[in-house]
Amino acid sequence: MKIDAKLMQRIFFFLMGAATIVIVLPVVIIFLIILINGIQAITPEFIFSLPRQGMRAGGIFPAIIGTLYLTLGTAVFSLPLGILAAIYLTEYSSENWLRRLVEIAIINLAGVPSIVYGLFGLGLFVLFLNLGASILAGSLTLSIMTLPVIITASKEALNAVPKSFREVSYSLGASRWQTVSRIVIPNAIPGIMTGTILGLSRAAGETAPILFTVAAFYLPTLPRSVFDQVMALPYHIFVLSTQVPGVTPKIQYGTILVLVSLVFILNISAALIRARFRKRKLW
């Protein structure tokens, strides 16, 4: 039997459409459930005050601050390291075994389970380097986890700058550094920013890497230095939902809503930067 080409096309359009909806559906459902159940918890008091009665009441301010500090700390370490490494790999290193080794290392680094990063951070930063459970140790651990994302995204952004631009620059007598700094980097920055923000938003939501390196179970004070422990949203959610009896769902969902919104804001800003740049880009 020969199937009509038009019918075939219709069947496949339907399948492709269905697949797309299946992808969107979980995101929408998850977000709606969190929103509906959590929105009543969101009050100024919830966001800006300390937890009370063993976290069964009050706010989640220390956890929000903790997550913001950790994200910032991660950016401080991973941005320069990741971007410089990406520039070196794309613009300077020649095609040899060392570079291949580094590239394989980066790919494998991206595949390491996050709990392993947590234990690695515990071993290296907390114990061996004697930083203790601290913002510093947590940020460093998250940085290592984020590095492959930032390096890969930055490399892609740098490689996307047309080779012809580089050739023109060289042909006018530019040195390699002049070409990289005046042509390549300025044109790669939007792509680098998008990738880095996505990497950071992942770091903001991670639990396992901060479990042993920084996160406090209950600490109703704000950190005074980078050597202090902090509460952090992802771990706080874990604590609220499994470790403390008698926490109302409202507080649980409210906390989740805050974390998800934080990550969403980061992701959307990445998308906006990309969209804005696409409009401007003319090659």
Binding site: S94, E95, P162, S164, F165, R166, E167, V168, S169, Y170, S171, L172, G173, A174, S175, Q178, R182, I183, N187, K281, L282, W283
Partner: protein
């Protein structure tokens, strides 16, 4: 008198591919030399060897000597200084993602010109030299991508002129242009004659006849013959040159 550019026993390889075979050639000061030949005859390879653009390719290797004003281009002169003296216009116009002004000012800025009045002067002079000034003088700040293909290519010539080179290499500069734009680019080249040594690689035999003083014919990485352009087109010595010019192959 020393030739502007002298190439001795040049052999070029990309990996195991032998792109240029034992080539000897002299380019005289301020002449326009056209290089014609079918694709894969080594024309572009030859030109990119002169300003060492091939050095950017990882598997490129060359033997032999290239002299600029009697100086060994691969030993006595730094990359950047050499490329400053030997400018290049590429096959497809490549405006940098900058304004018209900044495109032309890119080279001078690289080499340390910072004064705005000096830059303005260089930009105006360079744009006038490539016949583009009248068309763009009121919109120097708009992006170079907004120009038409022919205008972009003349912008690229201006950008090359702005670093005050002594030699200009054109790598099939009109391959993407319509006849009117092509004529304007050729006008620009004729206007620059006498002040610069120009080497034009072209697939278009008629273009070589229109603008060049001498013509060289390349085939399969070899220089078949080189002569005064009128002679070359009326009485070539080699049968293969005759066949190519007459359009019997290539």
């Amino acid at each position: 008198m020393v030739a502007k550019i002298e190439v001795k026993n040049l052999n070029c390889y990309y990996g195991s591919y032998h792109a240029i075979q034992n080539l000897n050639l002299e380019v005289e000061k301020n002449e326009i030399l056209a290089i014609i030949g079918p694709s894969n005859s080594g024309k572009t390879s030859f030109m990119r060897t002169l300003n060492r653009m091939n050095d950017l390719l990882p598997d490129f290797r060359m033997e032999g000597k290239v002299y600029l004003d009697g100086l060994n281009a691969y030993r006595d002169i730094k990359h950047s200084a050499l490329r400053r003296k030997i400018g290049m216009v590429f096959a497809m116009p490549v405006p940098l993602p900058l304004s018209i002004f900044d495109n032309v000012a890119y080279g001078p800025r690289l080499h340390g010109v910072t004064s705005n009045s000096k830059l303005k002067e260089i930009v105006e002079r360079s744009l006038k030299a490539s016949y583009l000034w009248e068309e763009v003088k009121d919109r120097l700040v708009s992006p170079a991508f907004c120009l038409s293909g022919g205008q972009q290519q003349r912008l690229c010539i201006s950008r090359t002129l702005a670093v005050e080179p002594e030699v200009i290499l054109y790598d099939e500069p009109c391959s993407g242009l319509d006849p009117i734009s092509t004529a304007k680019v050729e006008d620009a080249m004729r206007e620059l004659k006498g002040k610069y040594t120009q080497i034009l690689v072209t697939n278009n035999v008629k273009q070589a006849a229109r603008v060049s003083d001498r013509t060289a014919f390349f085939l399969m990485g070899e220089l078949i013959e080189i002569d005064q352009t009128p002679l070359m087109f009326t009485a070539p010595r080699d049968k293969r040159t005759d066949d190519y010019i007459a359009g019997r192959f290539g």
